[in-house]
């Protein structure tokens, strides 16, 4: 029966072959696990409400600079320098907007190459090349996109206001030509790398798909895990340190400490502070990049922290100086806005409230006691309000973001729910280690301080070589309105 056995074996082999074709695991044995198909990221879908909200936010931040900051600063200088302050702020807004669209957006928000890529972006968006309505920009949600051009506009307003904030440290004595050069050089050399470091990342889709590879392409501060929702470090510490270094470099105003130099119009300062507060909702809530619960949280925090800081400064000043002042109240409000900036999307309302109370008091202390003790002429208190307020906010964010304190925590994109092989936007919060986060916050803050200090110094030195920094003594006495612009703020 040789033929029978051969047929049986052939039939058996055919059967095995058929089974192997049907079920790939058959040949390997039952113990081997099936190879899972890798999950895919969903296409980025643009929501009209998100686009709309981001357009409005961009306008709100523009308003913060012009006329918000312009009036806030302008009211605090002497009459003879009012026009020059307004002109400097408006000029910076215009110049920065131009260079942003030319090269700065690419520098800050595209992927770089080589060892500088954690700080310096690439050239893929130079002159706005490659913007494609079919290729949306990422937000904080998997599968949600924005029209990239609105992201460009939004981020531009941040760069502009940061640059404009810095000049407050050396108000009433800097040449206008120096301001123009500062607008170009500082925003490029100092602002863009820090913005890239803290904020640039390939987006939630990539972070969910391949977290390690996505992080490796991100900015340095982002890789550290630093939390800076709307720019406590990128904007406020950055501008505060730059202004402080400039104030020290240029020296005190003529007559500082001897001649009275009270603000010429606290009326306008209050108007400016109010516009800043209203506009700041675009700054903070707009940094959520979507019109959803995150934006609403940032809005609520921007109300309560700001108000608390105003109350806090007012009460502390009342206690220590005898009378509560409008300048103090307005300054407290701004200090609160500064401090809540990095925390706005992470804190719970009570955490934001406490942050505001602390910031108001701490900034009051730095703007009065510390400033008087050291005697530096930080004219419009960029250090006391923005650097210190930003620092308090940056560290405070590490604390108030903790879920145990009502904070929103941090999303873990590696654990997003996968459905039908596609990653969904249902991503859980990661474990929150408050101490570790506070250390990361401090690291990022100090990196910012270091980069801003050194970078700003280099920028000032370049400007000093080209046009010089400070106006002549005669020009300073006459007032920058006449000496730099040939105009008067008021012809009454």
């Amino acid at each position: 029966m040789k033929t029978g056995w051969r047929n049986f074996i052939l039939l058996g082999a055919a059967g095995v072959a058929v089974l192997a074709l049907i079920d790939p695991t058959f040949a390997q044995g039952a113990a081997a696990a099936p190879a899972a198909a890798a999950p895919k990221a969903p296409d980025l879908v643009i929501n009209k409400a998100d686009d709309g909200w981001m357009m409005v936010s961009s306008l709100l931040v523009l308003m913060m600079t012009v006329p918000g900051l312009a009036l806030f600063y302008g009211g605090m200088v002497r009459t003879k320098n009012m026009l020059s302050t307004l002109t400097q702020v408006l000029a910076i807004q215009c110049i920065v907007c131009v260079v942003w669209f030319l090269w700065e957006y690419s520098l800050a928000f595209t992927e770089g190459s080589g060892f500088t890529s954690p700080f310096i972006g690439g050239m893929s968006r130079l002159f706005m090349a490659g913007i494609d309505p079919k290729a949306p920009a990422a937000t904080f949600s998997v599968g949600v996109g924005l029209d990239e051009l609105v992201y460009v506009c939004f981020q531009m307003t941040f760069c502009a206001i940061t640059t404009a904030l810095a000049i407050g440290g050396f108000a009433e004595r800097m040449k206008f030509s120096a301001i123009v050069l500062f607008a170009v050089l500082w925003s490029t050399i100092v602002y863009c790398p820090i913005a890239h470091s803290v904020w640039f990342n390939p987006g939630p889709n990539d972070l969910a798909l391949n977290n390690a590879a996505a992080l490796a392409r991100s900015g340095y501060g982002f890789q550290l895990g630093a939390l800076d929702f709307a720019g406590g470090t990128v904007v406020h510490i950055n501008a505060g340190i730059a202004g402080f270094v400039g104030a020290l470099l240029l020296g005190r105003r003529i007559g500082f400490g001897r001649e009275p130099m009270p603000p010429h119009s606290l009326t306008l300062t209050m108007v400016g502070a109010s516009l800043l507060w209203v506009g700041w909702f675009g700054f903070n809530a707009g940094s959520n990049l979507e019109a959803n619960a995150g934006a609403v949280l940032a809005m609520a925090n921007t109300f309560v922290a700001t108000a608390a800081a105003g109350v806090s400064w007012m009460l502390v000043e009342w206690l220590f100086k005898g009378k509560p002042s409008l300048l103090g109240l307005a300054s407290g409000v701004v200090a609160g806005l500064v401090a809540v900036t990095p925390a706005s999307g992470y804190a719970g309302p009570m955490g934001a409230l406490v942050l505001g109370l602390v910031a108001g008091a701490v900034c009051f202390f730095f703007c009065t006691a510390v400033k008087s003790a050291f005697g530096y002429d930080d004219t419009l208190d960029v250090f006391g309000v923005h650097a210190i307020g930003g620092f308090v906010g940056a560290i405070g964010t590490g604390i108030v973001a903790a879920p145990i304190y009502g904070g929103a925590g941090v999303v873990d994109y590696t654990k997003c729910v996968v459905k039908d092989g596609i990653i969904t936007s249902d991503c859980p919060l990661g474990d929150y280690d408050m101490m570790a986060q506070v250390i990361v916050q401090a690291k990022n803050a100090f990196i910012t301080i270091g980069w801003s200090a050194v970078g700003s110094l280099i920028v000032y030195m370049i400007i000093a070589l080209i046009v010089g920094l400070r106006v002549s003594e005669d020009a300073e006495r006459e007032g920058l309105d006449i000496s730099e612009h040939g105009e008067r703020a008021y012809n009454m």
Binding site: P260, M261, P262, S325, L327, G328, S372
Partner: protein, 112 residues
């Protein structure tokens, strides 16, 4: 002719104007000035920077007066400008060498 110059508290302007009007004075000049005498200033604080403000806002009223009316004018001003508090002001009288009405060319007392 005499120039009567009075430094008064700003809120007294309307009272003084009316009092002078009641005694027949038909014109005066007002200037906003700052000054101090025994009324000391105050301290202003702007974000930690303290300023001693020694000057207090006042108004200077100047009236050109015909000879013989000076005492009447002084009395009218002093009576309404007085509050009894420090800082009420002072009145000075200086001689006028010449006066001219620009529209008509009248000189002397006729110009007043």
């Amino acid at each position: 002719m005499k120039m009567v110059m009075a430094i008064i508290k700003p809120f007294k302007l309307e009272d003084v104007r009316k009092a002078l009007d009641d005694i027949g004075i038909e014109g005066l000049t007002v200037t906003e000035v700052k000054g101090y005498g025994r009324q000391k200033g105050h301290t202003e604080i702007y974000r930690g920077a303290e300023y001693e403000v020694n000057f207090v806002p006042k108004l200077k009223i100047e009236v050109a007066v015909a000879p013989g009316s000076v005492d009447k004018v002084i009395e009218a001003i002093a009576e309404v400008a007085k509050t009894g508090q420090i800082g009420d002001g002072k009145i000075f009288v200086t001689p006028i060498d010449q006066a001219v009405r620009i529209r008509t060319g009248e000189v002397g007392t006729a110009a007043l």
